[in-house]
């Protein structure tokens, strides 16, 4: 029973990027519309994944399996469960926004810009859908290439440094993961099937070593303290679209790796090292929260806020209860919307002022009232205000953490104060007050294209905040199954 939906989700954007590239950058208007068409088509083909998803069924759905490299028993094996399906939809959705966000702003090499985002979107869908370790790895690493190009070609003044740092940091982690995958292949008697690996028995010492290899790969991607330093650089230098994809989707890859690979394959090592993981997560939540407070650059501030929010996600995973893991997954989706919106808001201002320094702004509300209203909503969501999506995940994780250990929950809860402090303080300095200078006085409010993008995101943030049931319902059975699986020792 092969279904081709996942293949479509992966290959529609990638193959659609070819005509975009062939058209070339001369025919800009045509290229933009074509890219938008491909992105929308890419989103439409993912919709049946949501509507046709069987919420009661435990296990993989929309499975596709075909031999890819029979020489090493590598399969083209795709499938999604309640954990991964939402990320494919999120990714396809964000791709549309990113194409629209780059509409007028990108004037250099438009075709390559659009194609890079489309290809990246397809590759990242591949990561979420892969159930074969080699396929997963190949998508995981290949997705670095378009991002490297995006940061390096359309980025800010220090883009070369940021692009290299991004690429090499991530490659460091993935190469160690590759060796771990090869080791597991041999242990499993010649199989790269992740689902078979979930049943694989392993003794403690290899489990811990493999866990550490995966940890390096995924921690860099999340990013967790202390391997987070590439992220602020990459975000600051990347063009708006790059930052959006980076924050909304790419950071989720690391966290997804933990739930799909580390936890189920290495349950004993996960339990054993959980205190360390919780510690690192709390450092990310609290310490990075303070770091965000003192940033003078808006993009840097949001980048640190992303690290802090992702700390919540890893925290949720390693307290091993339903609330924690579901909360972490909800937080991942929510952060996908909120961070995308925050970066887009900064992008809107940057396109007009060519500055990201908080000090250059002030009183934006006087000249851009519509924009200020949207920005307000997203700032609230970023600080975790109830009725926005930011609240649901954080609240679930905090509840789960309190169940696990009161003081862990207590430390995690400080984010509600810290997050509000750094986000709202930034918002106050940028938006409120008297008009700071002539540049701000000359600002024009958002146009219909920007309004459309921000409206879509605002709707998503509010819908998820007010009625999160559709999101949690779809992941419930899979999370339940994961928890049961993780509770069983493999020693």
């Amino acid at each position: 029973m092969n279904s081709y939906l996942l293949s479509l989700a992966i290959w529609v954007p990638i193959i659609g990027a070819v005509p975009v590239l062939v058209l070339g950058s001369e025919r800009r208007e045509l290229v933009r519309w074509l890219a938008l068409g491909v992105a929308i088509a890419g989103f439409v083909v993912t919709l049946p994944l949501y509507t046709g998803f069987d919420r009661q069924f435990v296990g993989m759905q929309f499975v596709e399996i075909a031999p890819w490299i029979p020489r090493f028993n590598v399969q083209y094996f795709l499938g999604v469960d309640g954990i991964s399906v939402l990320f494919i939809l999120l990714n396809a959705f964000v791709t549309i926004l990113v194409i629209m966000a780059g509409w007028d702003v990108i004037e250099q090499k438009v075709a390559q810009y659009m194609a890079a985002f489309l290809i990246m979107s397809g590759l990242m869908n591949g990561i979420f859908a892969s159930l074969d370790a080699v396929l997963f790895y190949v998508f995981f690493e290949a997705s670095l290439i378009p991002m490297y190009i995006i940061i390096g070609v359309w980025g800010g003044p220090n883009r070369v440094y940021a692009a290299f740092k991004f690429f090499l940091y991530t490659l460091l982690g993935s190469l160690l993961m590759l060796v771990a995958l090869l080791y597991l292949f041999l242990q499993a008697g010649g199989s790269f099937n992740l689902l078979e690996w979930h049943q694989l028995r392993l003794t403690m010492a290899p489990q811990i070593l493999i866990f550490i290899a995966f940890l390096v790969a995924f921690a860099v991607k999340v990013p967790m303290w202390p391997v987070h330093t590439w992220l602020p650089d990459a975000h600051v230098e990347a063009p708006t679209g790059g930052s959006v994809v980076l924050a909304a989707i790419m950071l989720k890859l690391g966290a997804y790796g933990f739930v799909r690979i580390s936890l189920p394959i290495l349950p004993d090592a996960s339990h054993y090292l959980a205190p360390m993981m919780i510690g690192l997560s709390l450092i990310a939540v609290v310490y990075i929260g303070f770091v965000a407070l003192v940033q003078a650059d808006m993009k840097k501030l949001i980048a640190y806020s992303s690290i802090s929010h992702m700390g919540f996600v890893t925290l949720g995973f390693f307290i091993f209860n339903q609330l924690g893991i579901e909360g972490a997954l909800v937080q991942m989706i929510s952060h996908g919307f909120v961070s995308a919106a925050m970066f887009l808001c900064v992008g809107v201002m940057y396109d007009r002022m060519h500055s990201r320094q908080i000090a250059d702004y002030g009183g934006v509300v006087n000249t851009m009232p519509k924009f200020a209203a949207f920005f307000m909503l997203f700032a609230m969501a970023n600080s975790g205000l109830p009725a926005t999506s930011g609240f649901v995940g954080e609240f679930m994780v905090i509840l789960g953490a309190v169940k696990h250990n009161f003081w862990v929950g207590f430390a995690a809860a400080t984010t509600l104060i810290l997050g509000a402090a750094y986000t709202l303080w930034m918002y106050k300095r940028v938006v409120f007050g008297a008009v700071a200078n002539d540049h701000v006085a000359g600002l024009t409010d958002i146009g219909w294209r920007e309004t459309l993008i921000l409206t879509l995101l605002a709707a998503a943030v509010l819908a998820m905040g007010i009625y999160p049931f559709p999101f949690t319902d779809i992941m419930h059975a899979s999370v339940d199954n994961l928890l049961k699986h993780v509770a069983v020792s493999k020693l």
């Binding site: 090499k109 190009i149 090499l168 490659l171 090869l182 080791y183 041999l186």
Partner: protein
């Protein structure tokens, strides 16, 4: 005496004999054609190679046939590698044609030397006797020395040729010395009999091991791995780029065949000894090659150091055949086929990379500095993309063939319980990724320093594009080539 003379079976060596005959014909034709009709020499050379390919393909059998008093073997492995050698030499001739013509270097000698070098490689690939190996190797090496020096007026090329010659002669001496030791210990030159004598343990181990060390040194020199790598950067840099392209491609396949025949087919009984040596050389090559490549500003030198690290990776697979004391035939095949796969993948990538250097070179202008790649994306987005694919493939990033080559090698190493070595190797490929990415940075992130349009013949454009596409397609569908390598090895070992 004459009554005992038996005409050997010539069919297995049909391609070699054809090439030799044609080389003599071309020598005469070129003499009469003169410089005005040089195209005739070039076309005849290409035709000869195509003819060899037809003969070799026609000879492609399932089993090995020995001839010339067991000095020459024709097995699937040899046929497969020879076909790849012809293909790569044809590509070299087409890529390099304009470059050599613009510099007035496309004399008849060039084509003849290419043919004799090819013959040398074919003999090396098919040799089943220590002396035959040496014969092929010397034919190849002497042709290469002359090819490096073909630009007589260039002091740099002459210096490179001198270095190559002196060091090469030394290496040949080492190899020959090693062979004499093996002969002394076993009393035979035939590879199969050497293997038998080593297995039975009748030969003196001390002398054998002593000989092995020299053999390994000779092989290491030909492959260009640390600590016998010093000639590589200078020769790659000094030689005319079309010659560098030649040196960096097909001879690696011949050297691989030589290593396989000497170490695996004949001295497998000493695997424990040579594995340790190969491991050391592999790790050093991957380390030093990648580290030194970072400091280069000349792309030919950079690719030279990258070649050193790639050959290190190939050795990594070659040494992973036996894990501990038990001999698992599957592990053996896995290890040697991944070494072969790596060599083939490397040759394809190297052809493309030097092909790009040739593409950017014009009359009176050598595009050999990294700076010359600046802003290539503005000048020609398509060829920038081809170069990007080649560089990413060399760095071992999926979906390109270089990744699967590294993948197969690392799998063999991990299977042989060399996990630490595998980790060291991947860490150095992280270092290596930096300089490949730098080329992409120059092409994509920097503005062009030179806006001259890229001029190249139609066939070169098509072939170079096909080369890039091949690297991508072999990465998307890696199974065919892997299976071919495995199948030929299974039938030949």
């Amino acid at each position: 005496m004459l009554t005992n003379f038996v005409v050997p079976d010539l069919y297995p060596a049909a391609a070699e004999l054809f090439l030799l005959t044609m080389a003599c014909v071309i020598l005469v034709v070129d003499l009469f054609a003169g410089s005005a009709r040089r195209w005739l020499t070039g076309s005849l050379t290409l035709l000869t190679l195509v003819g060899c390919a037809v003969l070799t393909y026609w000879n492609f059998g399932d089993n090995a046939s020995l001839t010339f008093a067991n000095m020459f073997v024709d097995d699937p492995l040899a046929d497969f590698l020879k076909l790849l050698v012809y293909a790569s030499v044809i590509v070299v001739l087409i890529y390099g044609r304009d470059y050599m013509a613009e510099r007035d270097l496309d004399k008849g000698e060039y084509y003849l030397l290419v043919l004799f070098a090819t013959l040398g490689m074919m003999v090396m690939i098919s040799a089943y006797n220590l002396l035959a190996i040496y014969l092929g190797l010397e034919l190849l090496s002497l042709s290469l020395y002359a090819m490096v020096a073909i630009d007589r007026d260039s002091p740099r090329a002459t210096e490179a040729a001198m270095k190559y010659f002196v060091l090469g002669a030394l290496a040949s001496g080492l190899l020959l010395y090693g062979m004499s030791m093996i002969y002394g210990a076993t009393g035979t030159l035939e590879l199969g009999l050497v293997a038998q004598s080593v297995q039975e343990g009748v030969a003196n181990r001390t002398i054998l091991t002593f000989g092995l060390v020299f053999l390994v040194a000779g092989i290491a020199f030909k492959l260009g791995v640390v600590p016998f790598h010093l000639w590589i950067p200078d020769v790659y840099h000094g030689a005319p780029t079309a010659v560098t392209l030649f040196i960096s491609s097909a001879p690696k396949l011949a050297a691989f065949a030589m290593a396989l025949r000497l170490l695996v087919s004949s001295l497998f009984g000493l695997a424990e000894q040579w594995q340790t040596m190969l491991m050391l050389m592999a790790v050093l090559s991957i380390g030093i090659g990648n580290l030194a490549a970072i400091a280069q500003t000349n792309i030919k030198r950079m690719l030279a150091y990258s070649a050193i690290s790639h050959m290190g990776f190939m050795l990594l697979a070659l040494m992973s055949g036996v894990a501990g004391s038990e001999v698992d035939p599957m592990a053996l095949i896995n290890a040697y086929s991944s070494a072969m796969y790596y060599s083939v993948a490397y040759v394809i990538m190297s052809l493309g990379a030097f092909g790009m250097v040739l593409l950017l070179s014009r009359a009176g202008y050598e595009a050999e500095n990294l700076e010359d790649f600046k802003g290539l994306n503005k000048r020609s987005p398509w060829f920038a993309a081809v170069m990007m694919v080649l560089m990413l493939s060399m760095a071992g990033i999926p979906f390109f063939v270089g990744f699967f080559a590294k993948f197969a090698v690392l799998l063999a190493a991990v299977a042989a319980k060399h996990v630490v070595v595998a980790v060291v190797a991947v860490m150095f490929s992280l270092v290596g990724a930096y300089y490949y990415l730098r080329v992409i940075k120059l092409m994509y992130f920097d503005p062009p320093a030179d806006s001259a349009p890229i001029r190249a013949g139609f066939d070169v454009r098509i072939l170079l594009s096909a080369n890039g596409i091949a690297v991508a397609l072999l990465g998307l569908f890696p199974d065919t080539l892997m299976m071919l390598c495995t199948a030929t090895l299974v039938r030949s070992l």
